[in-house]
């Protein structure tokens, strides 16, 4: 049983590596287009950084986070946004409603591959993966400016929560986007899921208080994507958050699999 699970994971990792190589070839075939794609991504990143520059021109901190702590969070936000967009959304979930409408899912259903894997992660957008570099550089720069000693244990815990955060973002996206099987031709469903994740994950988690804490820690747990991993690395480890992220990622992933299974049954081919 365990061996077959490991075998399956290895199989899908191998397939993803091949798909990733295809993504690279596809993106770099037209070099001008590739550079324009990078320029667009970097443009958004500059806008994002400039926003905080202007805010900190007027205030000293945001809910206890100083300028460089926020810049570190911004760097991680850039990385997570690009990874979520590049792996999950741009060529995959954003196109799901159109594929359903056109009956293009047939081709995937007859393949010896998991439909959820192929439709959600099958076509990586390579330019987004390259665009994580400025985010990583910003994180390194901010960390240096904070004069913090490198804490390997905190880094490991932070990466663990980050992985849970990705599973949560993936699961939330799947739960919402799979509604496209039921409500045909509603192109905005995956976009709404994308906006919720991108807009609400980029703030320090302390901004969510009262009822909002319940919403963004439990119901739409986006705080585990960027804010809490940053907090663990640059401030301190909060074990409650670590445990909650693990628990929620398991629950959400299970729900996502079930919802997908139920929703895909609504699919009817449109081809002749």
């Amino acid at each position: 049983m365990q061996l077959s699970v490991i075998k399956k994971i290895r199989k899908y990792l191998r397939i993803y590596a091949i798909l990733f190589r295809f993504g690279f070839i596809f993106s770099t075939t037209y070099r001008v287009s590739f550079f324009i794609e990078l320029l667009v991504e970097i443009g958004y990143q500059i806008a994002f950084i400039l926003f905080y520059f202007v805010i900190f021109n007027n205030i000293k901190n945001i809910m206890g986070w100083n300028f460089y702590e926020i810049m570190f969070l911004t760097g991680l936000n850039i990385v997570t946004s690009e990874l979520i967009l590049g792996s999950l959304y741009i060529f995959n979930l954003r196109r799901l409603p159109e594929k359903i409408k056109n009956g293009d899912i047939d081709l995937i259903l007859v393949k010896p591959i998991n439909s959820l894997f192929y439709l959600s992660l099958g076509i990586p957008y390579f330019s987004a993966f390259v665009s994580i570099i400025p985010g990583i550089l910003l994180m390194i720069y901010s960390y240096n400016r904070l004069n913090l000693p490198l804490n390997f244990f905190a880094a490991l815990v932070s990466i663990f929560v980050l992985i849970n955060g990705f599973i949560l973002a993936f699961s939330f996206s799947i739960i919402l986007s799979s509604l496209s099987f039921k409500y045909i031709n509603t192109y905005t469903i995956p976009l709404i899921a994308e906006k919720i994740i991108l807009y609400y994950k980029d703030r320090p988690h302390q901004v969510y208080q009262g009822i909002l804490k319940l919403v963004f820690f439990i119901i739409i747990p986006v705080v585990f994507v960027s804010s809490i991993p940053s907090y663990i690395l640059i401030k301190n480890i909060v074990w409650n958050y670590v445990m909650v992220s693990l628990f929620l990622s398991c629950i959400f992933f299970f729900i996502a699999l079930k919802v997908w299974e139920i929703m895909i049954k609504n699919y009817t081919s449109a081809s002749s």
Binding site: G43, A47, N57, N185, T188, I192, I196, R203
Partner: protein, 264 residues
Amino acid sequence: MRKYLQLFKNYQAESWEYRANIVGGIVSELIGIISALIFWLAIYKSNTQIAGYTLNKVIFYYLLMPLIGSITSVWISNKVGSEIKSGFFTNYLIKPNKPILNILTHTFAYKFNYLATTVPVYLIFLIGFSFFSTIRFSGINILMGLLMAISGFFIHCLMDLAISWLGFWVDDVWSFQHFKNFIFAIFGGVAFPFDFLPSSMRLIFELLPFKFFYYIPASYINNQRSFSYLFSDILSLCLWGTLFYLIGIKLYSAGIKKYAAFGY
């Protein structure tokens, strides 16, 4: 004139087919506004005033953004750019009307329906907020803001037309919308009011035309901009409008000579 009126009616009917997208657009805007409001509420917990803005004023500013955006936003470059790329632009050339007027009629018809559906929703939010806050605005402020927004819409049309014609040379027309998105976020005042900027930076932002798409209309309604700027704003609008018109004409006349469509 009659044929354009008929075209307007046809495009209006066509635009209702996409009403689900309008609803989706409103939901997307609301997601953005709520995110901004949560953020600013947190910031104002430890600040009473930032750059002359109280919490109420900031909330009002961000609530105004989608309303003003629904007036000033234009999607010509997205549509026409891809039509040039796909060869669909030929359809404009063989019809017995001027392509530019046809495109503008399409824009006005879609805008008319978009405003009819979105403005009431945004107004409910604004009026609701003004009941519970100390924000008061005068009729003249609203009028000036609306006039600025409508003028902003017209120069945005001219600017977007000029951008569209780049489709004669550039393949990656999809990127136009993205460039506009992040430029407007910063230089248009969507992300923050210009009053938050250091004075040297603000000077540069004030020189650019993007301020007319969000910041200027909002700051007139918000009573944050004195009427003494009115003359220079109108002059600046006219200058930018003329410049975009001239650039558009030049690009169109050069681009149409190299346009080639295949198929259909």
